[in-house]
Amino acid sequence: MADITNSGTGGPRKSSLTESSAKIAKRKRADLILQGFGIGAILTAFTVLFILVASLVSTGYTAFVQTHVTLQVFVDPAEVAEERLPRGGFQEVLTASLLSNLPDADPESDARAVRNILSNGAQFYLRDRIVANPSLIGQTISITVPVSDPFDQLNKGNVDRATPEAQRRVNDREIGWFDALDTAGMIATPLNWGLITNADSRFPELAGLRGALVGTFWALLTCFLISFPIGIGAAIYLEEFAPKNKLSDFIEVNINNLAAVPSVVFGLLALAVFLNWFGLPRSAPFVGGLTLALMTMPTIIIATRAALKAVPPSIREAALGVGASKQQVVFGHVLPLAMPGILTGTIIGLAQALGETAPLLLIGMNAFITSAASSPFDASTALPTQIFIWADSPERGFVSRTSAAILVLLGFLVLMNGMAIYLRNKFERRW
């Protein structure tokens, strides 16, 4: 202001709005710097996120497809007999079919090597077909089965054919066989539904996330059913009914503390209390859900209290003013208005729980289990612990599957957070 020259007429000083002064320039510069910092921060965050996702996709995408071989199999009644189906010679039948396509392989000495082209689980594909329809015995059927991990990797270009034979998991002859099958048009690389429909397996080409997904589902369901009502109940009591005194302050502070406790501590607590003291089953998603509920509860309480606080007091007064009881005010007016906020907080809490690994490891949800849990009390893994297990496995196939599983986990997280944002926007405050 001081640099505005007085016109000398003695009247109020006038200045043009378009005239720029040092002060204005300084203010604009400060604005620009602040904006620059903001944009820089966002760019950094996005770059990091992009690198993360890109690296996961680049290692994980191969796990979304799986190399399969389609065989014309003569179901030899000499090998596969109806009366002893469960332990029939399915492997022999498949090997015979392969051998018939590989003229240079010796049916005796190479049988074992040829058989190893197929996944160990291939025989079960055939068995399931025959068990479902025993009349196929004696016929020639077409069946598509996964190949074993080394050949899967070979097909996906992860085996460098130039490296010395001794350092490869597949030798030159085997590569020759595989190429012969490939040129015969028997090799295909379809979408790998097994990643979702199969449970865990020792063989990477068969391992899938079904067990982990089911385990996570049970755990999150348990977590939700326990933490949601208790969390909301606690929040309503604290916010609407509890007297404001030292004790309620103390409780409030400790709920905030609880929300900040590292998850591994909850895992130790669960191990000591749920497993050792209550004697609940190890590795069970139910116990996992209980543990996760301990962690989710403070989040839900805090979110619910914030949502309840955000309901304007005038609504409560209005309801009280027409003679509604406290309980009618809370359940008839305040809670419905707070619900979007509560749900958003709950979903975010569950999304956090979805990715929690440490507490689940401590209660043994990293066991090797080859079937999906049929109840929350069966031993199971969960998505994050499955990732942990696979990340620990040396096979090449597990490396890409680890990344693929992480992508699946991230997909669920994005889905849940998206749902939270959708709910928040849909029920925007209307007063």
């Binding site: 005038s314 007064e317 009280l320 003013g321 003679g323 509604a324």
Partner: protein
């Protein structure tokens, strides 16, 4: 018109509906109301006037125990409704508020439909046995609040979508719907235009037939137009209380005179 009322007042002997004696209100350490005695008559409009912050709303909220909801607020003294002490521990404040309805300074409809706004009170108090009865109460209340014609075609529309003045009349309809015996109105016209104000004033005059009405207002003219009794508050004390005509024409206390002539405010 005023003259007519004066004569009317002369012949009627009115019952005392609410009686306050030695009421003191504290917000924590703040002494907001100091030893107030007021008699609120049945079938009468009582106006509370006074400068901003003098405690009109606070005292009004004592009359239906709305102050109970403020943690730091403490009320002492006696307030009787039809001879019953409303601060008696045996009294249920919820029941009390059904009898002593309230319209707030700021319109605060529920974020629900217009119909539900009005029907809420009758529903929770079980005033209607059938849907038809409820419909009737809703229509009657909306008519009394002079808003029926504006909303009758959109009873399902949200109450929050109305204009400020319409919202205030909706709130009046909501308060009337529960059939209170006393209606407390805290500056009900502060958000209204002159036409809506006139309608509400007309309504207040009509409500007087069945209820006792207490109204807080900043408008001297309004107090003079609608009320029969006026209470002047200043700094938490009740300075003067009496016939409206007397307060406005011949106040006893110099503070009252300064206020109504615009010197305190």
């Amino acid at each position: 018109m005023n003259d007519m009322r004066l004569t009317e007042r002369g012949v009627e002997t009115k019952q005392i509906k609410m009686k306050a004696r030695g009421v003191e209100v504290f917000y924590g350490d703040t002494h907001a109301i100091k030893s107030v005695d007021v008699d609120i008559e049945d079938h009468t409009v009582t106006a509370f006037i006074g400068p901003s912050g003098c405690g009109k709303s606070t005292f009004l909220r004592c009359l239906n125990r709305m102050n109970d909801t403020i943690d730091i607020c403490r009320v002492t003294g006696d307030i009787h409704l039809d001879g019953e002490d409303i601060y008696d521990p045996r009294i249920d404040p919820v029941q009390l508020r059904a009898k002593v309805g309230m319209v707030f300074q700021k319109p605060n409809p529920f974020p629900k439909s217009i119909y539900d706004n009005v029907a809420y009170g009758p529903k929770i108090h079980g005033l209607a046995r059938t849907k038809a009865e409820l419909d009737e109460i809703v229509e009657k209340s909306l008519r009394r609040a002079a808003i029926w014609n504006e909303v009758k075609d959109r009873l399902d529309a949200p109450g929050t979508g109305l204009s400020g003045g319409q919202q205030q009349r909706l709130c009046i309809a909501r308060a009337v719907a529960t059939g209170p015996e006393v209606l407390l109105m805290d500056e009900p016209c502060s958000a209204l235009d002159p036409i809506a104000t006139a309608q509400v004033e007309e309504l207040i005059d009509e409500l007087r037939q069945s209820y006792s009405v207490v109204i807080v207002t900043h408008s001297m003219q309004q107090a003079a137009r609608v009320s029969q009794k006026t209470a002047f508050f200043h700094l938490g004390t009740l300075v003067e209380f009496g016939e409206t005509s007397k307060i406005f024409t011949n106040p006893e206390d110099p503070r009252t005179e300064s206020y109504i002539t615009g010197r305190i405010g």
